[in-house]
Assembly symmetry: C2
Homo-oligomer: 361 residues x 2
């Protein structure tokens, strides 16, 4: 079992990574202020992993309230959140009841937000079951729900007490979801870890075959990268925004196509290609470096050509993104392969990058 | 103008108290990260105080988005909160837009919660316009909305950047609301400030006549008391619970009568009388001390006899309260006049106190 420590000043915690992490009941129990938990999961994940977790906890003397939500990003709403509150209040759960998120990023984000605001905050444990959740959404304490006028517009920074990333849970993950998670893995290489980017190039086949050792390493290194960035800037006042590499373009793709048509990771992949085009236009990347980025994403089963929504529509969608400061769009830009920074782009470069990103390679 | 400093470690801030505090535009402007605010208020307060505040801010070059909500505790819900998010998102308010709460505790609690979770947190300023909000709800950072299964069940600890308590705003406050605020003022005397309790006994007539000097002193001293308790225990893990003196009984009255029938402060007044009865039964208060408490509350225009819901119903309602730990109800108990502590009560004493509290004096 590998351990990554997240050094958030006021609330440090561990991420345990490995096959069977989900069964680390002793670690969970040690953190409970009261032998009572609510496990929040969804209709897809529950039949796969709920009963094992629930019965082990119950054998350990922990009272378990299972809360099973409908599956899908379209349910990441206040209405679904209220189902959690309804269940907690009906069962008279108190401030010391711990919420456990068992599922992908949607369950993790919603459960984390519920934990942040139920009775003004109850303890929270993440058991991420998608690759994306294991390498990204379960780390760093961002929680949220969507609003009809924007994704993740309502939420909180709220840290879990523990994250258990079980490699075994990935066995049942559909290929397309696995690839979506790989987009965030590759992102860490591009943000500021060239060595990892090159390791990924060398090990992409093993990873896609879900080789256990390769996966464990990639997840650990991803979590280390995210934990380091987050610990330095919990509330995203500066460097944390680097984690949004490819996301300004990506969010525009997701919104423009209608949420759910492109998976988040898929949109981020095409978005990173657009960022790479911008860098190539500015001379920060060579043609061959651009090709390496595109190639790695393709081997990870990800789309590298963005849908052609038209530059005006892209600009409009991007202006609605959260990463806007006094009306100016902030981009995460590639400085060179394996290094990125936060800055602005001239309209011209954005338009050129958009055009290039929407053309087949 | 009097200033009370709230020394919350990570986010200290000032409470300005005095006639005309609402016009301290310079103080507001100095705190804005961006010359843009949303003023959240309600249909009752808006015609009284919105336009003065808005036009002064606008003259100072600040862009103002007014958000006018329906008035009433019954609107302290997720649906109303969503009206705030709708307005903020429609106007494309960003992370640096400051939310200003202009109103009583309902507006303050909702706006504070909206500020806590809109885009995971935006700056927040309180301009409390009821006595209760000036001495209690605007101080200490508790924010919340109600859930059909319980009051204030969903919320956050979120501190404002500044509180402006304008005595002039109290001129228009209905007498019943003014009295409700007085319940919380008197509460501070009973928690741990005998000197203040005795000052209140001596000055109650002036206060009820809304004498400016008396009011300014009472509000300042109340804020000091609350600020001290809150600074020592922001997240209510211990001593902060003292602020709930009379509230376990009070919440049961509010819920039992149906929310809105008894004002919160009225219920707290009758609840404090019940707590005083419990203390008298246990020998912690003499008959004459009990009579002093009852007398002061009466002079403040508050009810001192609780509605007779029956002991069983009271116990059931109290068991649903947040201040329950592993099924045991925690009470704030009176140790002696001007001193209280947190503890438990035997069923027998609770029943006797309930019976005494429901009988006319
Ligand atoms: N909080 C953050 O920092 C952060 C970061 C990135 C993304 N996110 C959020 O995460 C969400 C996306 O997360 P996601 O990609 O995990 O999506 P998801 O939670 O929707 O999971 C994808 C699908 O896989 C299913 N699933 C989950 N685990 C499974 C398993 N082990 N086997 C089989 N099926 C399984 C889910 O039920 C779902 O149908 C988005 O809402 C996004 O906003 C948050
Ligand atoms: N956050 C906390 O720590 C805390 C503490 C105590 C109470 N509260 C909450 O505060 C709320 C009660 O606050 P409240 O007593 O101020 O009630 P309120 O906000 O409902 O105000 C009472 C009434 O007075 C009106 N009003 C407000 N200012 C006025 C003015 N200057 N002139 C004329 N009318 C005016 C309001 O519109 C309302 O109709 C409850 O929801 C309670 O849960 C919170
Ligand atoms: Zn992402
Ligand atoms: Zn109160």
């Amino acid at each position: 079992m590998r351990t990554v420590k997240v050094e958030i000043d006021h609330a440090p915690y561990d991420i345990l990574i490995g096959k069977g992490a989900l069964g680390r009941i002793a670690q969970i129990k040690a953190l409970l202020p009261q032998p009572r938990v609510a496990i929040v999961t969804n209709a897809t994940v529950a039949p796969l992993y709920l009963s094992a977790l629930q019965s082990q906890l119950e054998e350990g003397g922990v009272n378990v309230l299972p809360i099973i939500l409908p599956d899908g990003e379209q349910y990441k709403t206040w209405e679904t959140l209220n189902l959690i509150f309804d269940a907690l209040l009906t069962a008279r759960c108190e401030r010391k009841t711990t919420l456990i998120a068992l599922g992908g990023g949607v369950i993790g984000d919603m459960t984390g937000f519920a934990a942040a605001v139920y009775q003004r905050g109850v303890p929270f444990i993440q058991i991420p079951t998608t690759l994306l959740a294991q390498v990204d959404s379960s780390v760093g304490g961002k929680t949220a729900i969507n609003h009809p006028l924007g994704k993740n517009m309502v939420g909180a920074f709220y840290q879990p007490k523990l994250v258990l990333a079980d490699l075994a849970a990935l066995d049942t993950l559909p290929k397309r979801e696995f690839s979506a998670g790989m987009a965030e893995v590759i992102k860490y290489g591009l943000i500021d870890d060239l060595e990892f980017f090159e390791w990924l190039e060398a090990n992409i086949d093993g990873l896609m075959a879900r080789d256990e050792a390769a996966l464990a390493y990639a997840i650990e290194r991803s979590c280390q990268n995210k934990a380091r960035i987050v610990a330095a800037d919990e509330k995203e006042t500066g460097q944390r925004a680097l984690l949004n590499l490819g996301h300004t373009f990506g969010h525009a793709i997701e919104a423009g196509m209608g949420y759910g048509v492109w998976l988040h990771g898929e949109a981020v992949a095409a978005g990173m290609v657009m960022a790479a085009h911008a860098a190539r236009i500015q001379g920060a990347l060579s043609d061959s470096e651009l090709a390496r980025i595109v190639g790695l994403l393709q081997k990870a089963g990800l789309p590298v050509v963005a849908p052609d929504l038209g530059a005006d529509r892209y600009l409009e969608l991007m202006a609605q993104d959260k990463k806007v400061d006094a009306g100016r769009i902030k981009f995460v830009l590639i400085e060179k392969l394996g290094q990125s920074y936060i800055g602005e782009l001239s309209d011209e470069v954005v338009r050129d990058a958009l055009a290039a990103g929407c053309r087949a390679h």
